[in-house]
Symmetry: C2
Subunit: 245 residues, 2 copies
Amino acid sequence: MKRVKLTIAYDGTNYCGWQIQPNGITIEEVLNRALKKLTGENVLVIGASRTDSGVHALGNVAVFDTETTIPADRIAYALNQKLPEDIVITKSEEVPPTFHPRYCDCSKTYEYHILNTKTPIPTKRLTNYFVSYDLDVDKMRKGASYLVGEHDFVSFCNVRTDVESTVRTVTALDILQNGEEIIIRISGNGFLYNMVRIIVGTLLRVGRGFYEPEKVKEILETKDRKAAGVTAPPHGLFLVEIRYQ
Amino acid sequence: MKRVKLTIAYDGTNYCGWQIQPNGITIEEVLNRALKKLTGENVLVIGASRTDSGVHALGNVAVFDTETTIPADRIAYALNQKLPEDIVITKSEEVPPTFHPRYCDCSKTYEYHILNTKTPIPTKRLTNYFVSYDLDVDKMRKGASYLVGEHDFVSFCNVRTDVESTVRTVTALDILQNGEEIIIRISGNGFLYNMVRIIVGTLLRVGRGFYEPEKVKEILETKDRKAAGVTAPPHGLFLVEIRYQ
């Protein structure tokens, strides 16, 4: 028996998110099926990040246990032959049997892609949030600076489950411009439900001039979800990387 | 009666190209239908570039004649309400009744997008040609330099129709790097059938080391389609802009 860690990239457009659910096809389900075809075993993967419907990944992580004789580092290639082209295993490797992708210390990086043009670009409609109004990126950067560090992010969390603590550490929050794309890149030791998308929704209000940058600090201190901006739509969000210590 | 020029962006993934044909839905057909809904007239657009199945556009051009009272510059907005989200009119304007998008002097610009990484990125699979081998971009630039200027491009043309002359002028051919993407950008006064994609296929052979850059000059001089590289796949190709004198 060995435990294998997979690094997974996917286009979330055609999936109801990561986690298996009754009403539609999910990444987790497609992976389990492909692994069954490959190994002959009833494999159940454990995912690191249960991304929402429409959210994309460049480097989500999952593990599974197997008796297969296929070397761990060859599983990526073999599994890709059994997966649809919108899901790609970029790496496979053996890890200790105690490694759990959700209960190990890690740093996650997300990117949120905004297309800031006057008219939408059809080829970017599934991977960028289209925003036609002018954005003041310097003000967005100033607003973002208040979020870096250890804070109680309860104002930036949609109620979902019984999370014990809403304190998280954002280690970096950068706003990059690549031509007509604005990319909000955020790293931290864990994120609350919808936290990245609520931060993006809030920074867009700052960029548009509806909020002063200092308002972001106030929202943090208010500790009230209603104080923050709306949740930005899922299709601009990419889970870029999960780094384990 | 007025003649209206439309500038059109589209994601070509779900279409059998521009031109109406019996076996599948095309951009031209969808435009005609939307214009009928908008104006009540049996409109037939005349397109500038009849892009192939899977090819994308940021700025294709079409004209149509109409009696509508909608001001020409407002048609873009009104028409977008009746179009699917993978086709967007970025501009509409009145032009003289003698303006024909194919028989007027113009400069066209295409881009071909290559994703040059070790593993594919699912979100880029419909807009980038994935190439996993190393590419020598400097050699590709040297090879490309032989194509700039007025030449007989018959070696870079797939036989389709009764084109009178195969002489064309390439005014610029640049190879840009944007992170892990390599973009081949080419402008000229007109292109033969599949010319851009055959140029790309040939420059990829140069980048891979199968051809020396000087071979591109030879291929031009041989005047034989069989001398050039294969036609690169359609999904990496974007018609970026058509500029009329």
